[in-house]
């Protein structure tokens, strides 16, 4: 189908205005509000003890969730792409489950399991606090970010096929050597892209984490939760804008990485 110059221009204008109104204007408003009192006010607002705690909490969760999901994701993707085992379809469905389930449900189910009256509730009495502390938030984030690495790596494994791995085997490489020298380098861009998606989601997760976090400032509050509590609970709108801008900064770095990696992945 050919599109005339005029209609092409109209379509472009429409698409750009849509993006402008829905994305750029709200984000621009936050940036404007954040910096209207100058950089010093912004800096002070994001270096309060609660803010520093929230930033480090968010980064800690990312630091725990990413390695776990990389290991789980690569192993699962390998099993799904290379293995022929009964129940493969069920595993496929379970991997996609976090995409389908509302994060709030994840949070509630974790409460049911680990809360005071839950199956594993006794652990809290033994001194291992899951709900309202870091382990619970990590569990919630793990759940919602579970599919990303699997779903990015599995198609790459399908695409490269297993001939390179077989060739390595005939040349004397053990399974472990084949994985490190052949498989991992072949999936590296897909894996990196999966990691970036995991980081972005882990930073931004609200629904599941808010249920299990309890939101004690300085203790169990991520940056995303801080934005919410400053705005709603503390009526500290400026503080909320500042925290949101920090979060956006982190997201922007992730987004840039994503774009670069996507290019590499397509070139590979």
């Amino acid at each position: 189908m050919t599109v005339g110059t005029r209609s092409r221009l109209t379509l472009r204008t429409l698409a750009l205005s849509y993006l402008f109104v829905l994305v750029l204007v709200p984000l621009g408003m936050i940036l404007y509000r954040t910096f209207e009192h100058g950089l010093v006010a912004f800096w002070e607002s994001i270096t309060t003890p609660a803010a520093i705690s929230a930033i480090s909490m968010s980064l800690t969760i990312v630091a725990i969730v990413v390695p776990l999901n990389v290991c789980f994701g690569v192993v699962t993707a390998l099993a799904l792409a290379r293995g022929r085992f009964p129940g493969r379809g069920i595993v496929q469905a379970i991997v996609d489950l976090p995409f389908a389930i509302s994060p709030v449900i994840v949070g509630v189910s974790l409460l049911l399991l680990w809360g005071v009256n839950g199956w594993f509730g006794g652990l809290a009495d033994a001194g291992f606090q899951v709900i309202f502390s870091l382990p619970g938030m990590v569990l919630a984030t793990l759940f919602v970010t579970l599919p990303f690495v699997v779903r990015e790596v599995e198609p790459v494994l399908h695409e490269i096929g297993d001939e390179q791995e077989q060739a390595a085997a005939t040349l004397g490489a053990s399974r472990w050597q084949t994985f490190w020298r052949i498989t991992l380098p072949a999936i590296r861009w897909g894996l990196a892209y999966g990691i970036v998606l995991t980081v972005a989601r882990a930073l931004g997760e609200f629904g599941a984490v808010t249920v299990v976090a309890g939101g004690v400032p300085g203790q169990s509050q991520t940056l995303t939760l801080l934005v919410h509590s400053r705005y709603i609970d503390d009526q500290n709108t400026f503080g909320a804008y500042a925290a949101a801008t920090t979060l956006m900064g982190l997201a922007l770095v992730t987004l840039l990485l994503m774009t670069v990696l996507n290019r590499k992945r397509e070139a590979a």
């Binding site: 390179q164 077989q166 005939t170 040349l171 004397g172 490489a173 380098p185 072949a186 590979a268």
Partner: protein, 324 residues
């Protein structure tokens, strides 16, 4: 010597290999020839250890390797689609097997350079597979397989993904390489011309069984059955018997054993001429004659002629026995 004894392999209801036994002599180049689904690739992968047979044994150079994984069989394997390590340079691809074996660096360098010279890729060390043509990639894969000095070289439709001209060049090149390196080589192909061109021996496979093993000439002259005969070259059926088109004689006069026929299309193919004929009460056949003969007969479409075979089809099994 590679000896496969009683190898069977089933995938569900499908018998990929059905009690196959074959001996491949040291230093020979043997082709496994058959249509797709005949089990030729499965047999090669069983020899390599990439597939485990349901029953039967594989012995390479006197060592029973049936339960030994491919890593420790000391074989070289070349895949139809090259299986190049895309993220490695040509040098690292060829060096892979030696790197795994922790050979000294200087020795690896020297061997890589030597092999790249042999396969005609000298100076390509720093390139990546994506910068090579299909033929070059396959030659790199061959160098990679040869680098570990394998006891046997196994080639799975190595030229199948290349265009006709490159395929023919590489075929001739492989034959010369084999005459230099003398490594026992097994080549899987579905192309009878390729098999007859390069190999010392051909094993014809069909439906998971070996139909016949012999030299290319043996198989062509003394096919064990109709399948081998029709797979190794064009055939025509006259009075229910298979004959080669060049053994069909077209005459103007009726003879003792001749069959009347009507001339269909006459195709001039350079030196040879193909005459399509409708024989009465028979399937249409193609006869192959020389240009001179065709000129002498002056055949035209619609004319009535007579067909006979010059010699009876040779289906004697006596002289076309198995190898070894």
């Amino acid at each position: 010597m590679i000896t496969v004894t009683g190898a069977s392999k089933r995938y569900g209801d499908f018998a990929a290999l059905d009690d196959v036994s074959i001996e491949i002599p040291d230093g020979s180049l043997t082709a496994l020839l058959g249509p797709s689904g005949s089990g030729k690739s499965t047999l090669l992968r069983v020899i390599a250890g990439l597939e485990t047979p349901d029953s039967g044994s594989v012995v390479i150079s006197g060592e029973d390797v049936t339960d030994i994984p491919p890593q420790r069989r000391n074989i070289g394997f070349v895949f139809q689609h090259y299986a190049a390590f895309k993220h490695m340079t040509v040098r690292d691809n060829v060096a892979f097997g030696m790197t795994i074996r922790r050979r000294p660096k200087a020795q690896i360098e020297a061997r890589v350079d030597e092999l790249l010279g042999i396969v005609g890729l000298a100076g390509f060390q720093k390139r990546y597979p994506s910068q090579l043509s299909g033929g070059q990639r396959q030659r790199m894969a061959l160098a990679r397989a040869l680098a570990v000095e394998p006891r046997v070289l196994l080639l799975d439709e190595p030229f199948g993904a290349l265009d006709a001209k490159v395929r023919e060049e590489l075929r001739a090149w492989l034959r010369r390489l084999h005459d230099e390196v003398h490594v026992t080589t097994v080549l899987v192909t579905h192309d009878q011309e390729e098999a007859m061109d390069v190999s010392d021996n051909i094993a014809v496979l069909n439906e998971g069984r070996v139909e016949q093993i012999g030299t290319p000439l043996d198989l062509y002259e003394r096919p064990a059955n109709d399948f081998v005969m029709s797979f190794l070259g064009p055939v025509a059926r006259l009075r229910g018997r298979l004959v080669r088109p060049h053994d069909l004689k077209v005459t103007r006069e009726p003879g003792a054993d001749s069959v009347p026929a009507t001339v269909g299309r006459v195709a001039h193919l350079g030196f040879e001429v193909r005459v399509e004929l409708d024989a009465e009460g028979q399937e249409p056949v193609s006869a192959q004659t020389t240009r001179e003969e065709a000129q002498r007969l002056g055949l035209r479409t619609g004319e009535r002629v007579y067909l006979r075979t010059d010699q009876p089809p040779q289906l004697s099994l006596a002289e076309s026995g198995a190898l070894g």
